[in-house]
């Protein structure tokens, strides 16, 4: 009987670039920037890496197809490398591949690296796929964008729980104000200015009711991890090991968009992935047991409803937890402690690994001004696609053996 990933894999080292509009960098430059920090941290040689997983979502606008861009950029010694893509869960998928290889005992040391170069498109927001969204799909789906797809959560949520538009919009503003405050403390964040609730409320509309500050940025970045088994890490002289407690994924099958029992108020996949991850990690009361979270705040409303899908807030109450400051840096369960997608932007292939990087820093006490007091266990979450058709990923990491 399979027992899951808990404590079978340790993180040996991690790296993360400065996120932002990296006009001077190719994707390959970002790969090297993240990798150099990671390999120094891990204390191994490049040639010790036996296999790698490479995550990019939009290779068309950056490196091109296949995993060759990673082996070529780093001049890896012809080791097996796999390119993965699974919407916004791409970075976490690369990590999952590397962890599974180590846990399976196939390799001792593996690399997971995610990168995205979004600022070579010539316009804001994520690219418009048009006919590349699928030969039939694009002919009938609305010409929707990410903000438009996620904005509808607000109308669905408000209608379902009887929350007034004003209350919900105010709570959404608080989500963003909190993340901007955290991002201001993070030298690697793209946007480092704190904002006020009024600023968020008064910002120009992007997709009703989302304003500019309800939306995460678009930026370039890369992040990576080198993983091994706890036994090998210990033999290498590492102590205070950070280990993987859970890695779960859940994918929509079209039911939300095609069947009649979903109210555009939640992510069915996130809840499924969260329940599986808690079981894998041995967590029974996430609201009390988790020390911190990095969730997929592509939009303020996404983060808000995700708190319910992760079983941290009761259904219909997350907006109150937000207004109570429960997710602030000094709150009961700090969320987006590094500033989140909100201030980092969302270079898609990198985001999942960027979230894990913050958990890793916090657990090792290396998070500088935003360091939490003695965190034990952290959760990361990605949500790719659309509320009605998506990929959800949940990862949990913590101190080894605890």
């Amino acid at each position: 009987m399979a027992k899951g990933i808990r404590d079978k894999v340790a993180i040996l080292g991690m790296g993360c670039t400065k996120f932002g509009e990296r006009w001077d960098c190719d994707a390959e430059d970002l790969v090297i920037e993240a990798f150099e920090e990671c390999i120094d941290d891990a204390g191994v040689e490049k040639n010790d890496i036996e296999a790698a997983w490479f995550g990019t979502f939009l290779p068309e606008i950056s490196v091109g197809k296949s995993a060759i861009p990673l082996t070529q950029a780093l001049r890896l010694p012809r080791i097996p490398v796999t390119r993965v893509e699974n919407y916004c869960a791409t970075g976490t998928e690369a990590f999952r591949g590397a962890c599974y290889a180590v846990a399976a005992g196939v390799y001792d040391i593996c690399l997971a690296l995610g990168v995205e170069k979004l600022k070579d498109t010539g316009y804001g927001g994520l690219p418009n796929f048009g006919a590349n969204a699928g030969s039939f799909t694009w002919l009938w789906w609305p010409n929707l964008t990410a903000p438009g797809a996620f904005a509808q959560l607000a109308s669905g949520y408000a209608a379902k729980y009887g929350v007034s538009e004003t209350d919900l919009k105010t709570a959404m503003a608080h989500v963003s104000v909190k993340s901007h405050a955290n991002g201001a403390l993070n030298p690697k964040a793209h946007l480092r200015k704190p904002i006020t609730v009024d600023q968020a409320l008064m910002a120009p509309p992007v997709a009703h009711p989302l304003g500019l500050f309800d939306c995460c940025g678009v930026s370039d970045g890369a992040a990576c991890a080198i993983v091994t088994t706890p036994e090998i890490a210990k033999k290498m002289g590492k102590h205070d090991l950070i280990s993987v407690k859970a890695l779960q994924l859940s994918l929509s099958n079209g039911e939300e968009m095609g069947f009649d029992d979903w109210d555009y108020d939640r992510f069915v996949t996130t809840e499924r992935a969260a329940r599986a991850a808690y079981e894998e990690a041995g967590i029974t009361k996430p609201r009390e047991q988790l020390s911190m979270m990095e969730v997929h705040d592509c939009f303020s409303i996404t983060e808000l409803v995700t708190m319910e899908d992760l079983l941290v807030s009761e259904r219909g109450t997350a907006w109150k937890d937000v207004l109570d400051g429960f997710f602030n840096l000094d709150g009961g369960l700090p969320c987006q402690v590094d500033g989140g997608l909100k201030t980092f932007g969302h270079p898609i292939g990198a985001s999942g690994l960027r979230m894990l990087y913050e958990m890793y820093l916090q657990l090792l006490g290396r998070a500088g001004e935003r360091q939490l007091k003695n965190p034990q266990i952290g959760l990361t979450h990605n949500l790719g696609g659309f509320p009605f058709l998506n990929v959800a990923a949940v990862a949990i990491v913590g101190r080894y053996g605890q």
Binding site: N143, P147, G148
Partner: protein, 486 residues
């Protein structure tokens, strides 16, 4: 007995204020001030001849058995495709089935009445029992021209058959002349027009009376025997003069709709007729004429069956469902006559795979989904595996039409980032009565008036235009209904 079995009309909701046209381009064309009163109908950016023909035909088919329809004739001089049968697209949107005779009637403004005569003759000859005739036009006009103010956009539809006839066909009379009041070379956007005074005097003023006179003589009728005369003429004074010339009384002449709509091309005589039929009483005779390189005139007698016709939106419903458009630049933008900045985002690939369009023709043109024969779940699109998680049966679905089912808004947004001719792009999730749902574009609505739970009606619209390859893609959109609206 051959005749009209049912009628329908459609006029786009937006009405361009003629004074707004003069306000914008009067500096260049001061003479249009003479015509700058009242309003003309204008297509939304996602409407065209085909979408109006579909809307009018759906109105016409209210309460009718569309499976009995054996053919569709479409008349227009503003068809989007020069070679791809436009009537076939309308028939597919109406989901009339595959065993069907379809034809486009075009190249003259009288094509609407000509199609009607052809349909009536086919039915009278006994070859067929039910034919649908649709006509629609969105005629392109140059900025600051009289025609920009005289014309309007609209569509009409008549179901022709041999039983349940509400207006019996008594006969027709036609004349054909190569009278070139205007012409348009193949491939050109705009008409070339000759002096209006000549068109008025030698064209409308002589040819319509000749056809109507010929018809009355052929049927041995006096002008006084006919309750209503329906004929177009955008010169309002000449419209009245023709009546006087033929000895008609004022109340015998159907309104040319100039003040409310403008002239809707090939559809106009049929749209005027639809308006007249809304009020018609059994026993009344109606003469309808279409003008353009000659003239067709037809005569009908209203029967008792007209009382049994279920209520429909009709011309009066369309006239009532209006919103004034004061912004002339929107009219230009909707007609692709403004080179607006669309941004790089608009450069997304938009080639249509004809193979995919063929495989999914019923879903895309007819909004036909699936219904699971095992669990009864309606669903869109129709797939090989049922969407109901408690069923998930393989290969269990039969065709299920969604277009005429009621639906409500589950979620919505107004998107400023999405490329749109008139931002924001409004879309959301709609839930159909009886089951089934889809994410859909919304149209003909205002963001601030939307709410979850609001009813919507589905409408066949343009989805995109592939300018590089000259291809228009169509699909269905949700039109939010205001409380108390039809």
């Amino acid at each position: 007995m051959a005749g009209i079995v049912s009628f329908g009309g459609y006029v786009p909701k937006r009405r361009l204020q003629r004074a707004a046209v003069f306000g914008a381009v009067g500096w260049h064309a001061p003479a249009i001030m003479m015509m700058a009163q009242g309003e003309r109908s204008m297509c939304n950016w996602d409407e065209d001849t085909l979408t109006m023909a579909v809307a009018a035909s759906r109105d016409c088919l209210t309460g009718a058995d569309k499976n009995a329809v054996e053919g569709l004739y479409l008349a227009s001089t503003s068809l989007p495709f020069a070679d791809r049968q436009n009537a076939g697209i309308v028939a597919a949107a109406l989901n009339l089935g595959d065993e069907l005779t379809t034809a486009d009637f075009t190249s003259a403004q009288k094509a609407g009445t000509t199609a009607l005569i052809a349909a009536l003759q086919a039915v009278a000859g006994g070859e067929t029992k039910r034919l649908l005739v649709a006509a629609a036009d969105q005629r392109r006009t140059k900025v600051g021209s009289f025609y920009e103010l005289w014309f309007g956009d609209g569509g009409a539809s008549l179901l022709v058959g041999d039983d349940d006839v509400i207006a019996e066909y008594l006969g027709s009379f036609s004349v054909s002349y190569d009278f070139v009041d205007h012409y348009r070379e193949a491939g050109r956007l705009f008409d070339y027009t000759w002096e209006e005074r000549w068109v008025r005097d030698e064209g409308y003023g002589k040819i319509i009376p000749e056809a109507i006179g010929g018809l009355l003589k052929k049927l041995s009728l006096q002008v006084g025997d006919v309750a209503r005369f329906v004929y177009p003429c955008y010169f309002s004074s000449e419209h009245k003069k023709i009546a006087r010339r033929l000895g008609m009384e004022k109340e015998q002449v159907a309104n040319n709709l100039h003040k409310q709509l403008g002239e809707t091309g090939t559809a106009h005589p049929l749209l005027m007729l639809a308006g007249v039929l809304e009020q018609a009483k059994p026993g009344e005779k109606i003469v309808v004429a279409g003008f353009g390189q000659g003239c067709d005139a037809l005569c009908f007698e209203v029967t008792e069956k007209i009382a049994d016709l279920p209520p429909r939106r009709g011309l009066s419903g369309s006239l009532a469902d209006r919103v004034a458009e004061e912004n002339y630049t929107k009219f230009l933008g909707f007609n692709d006559m403004l080179d607006t900045e669309e941004g790089i985002r608009a450069e997304a690939p938009n080639q249509t795979a004809m193979t995919a369009l063929w495989r999914h023709r019923k879903e895309l043109l007819g909004l036909v989904g699936g219904k699971c024969t095992e669990c009864g779940t309606p669903q869109f699109p129709k797939t090989k595996v049922c969407v109901n998680p408690k069923c998930n049966a393989f290969h269990s679905q039969e065709d299920y039409e969604f277009a005429d089912r009621g639906a409500k808004i589950k979620s919505y947004t107004g998107d400023m980032l999405s490329v749109s001719i008139e931002p924001p792009a409004i879309y959301g999730l709609v839930q159909f009565e009886g089951g089934g749902r889809m994410i859909a574009d919304f149209t003909d609505c205002e963001l601030h008036k939307l709410k979850v739970g609001q009813p919507v009606r589905m409408s066949f619209r343009k989805r995109y235009h592939d300018a590089q390859r000259g291809f228009t893609g169509y699909f269905w959109k949700a039109v939010p209904q205001q409380e108390g609206g039809k």
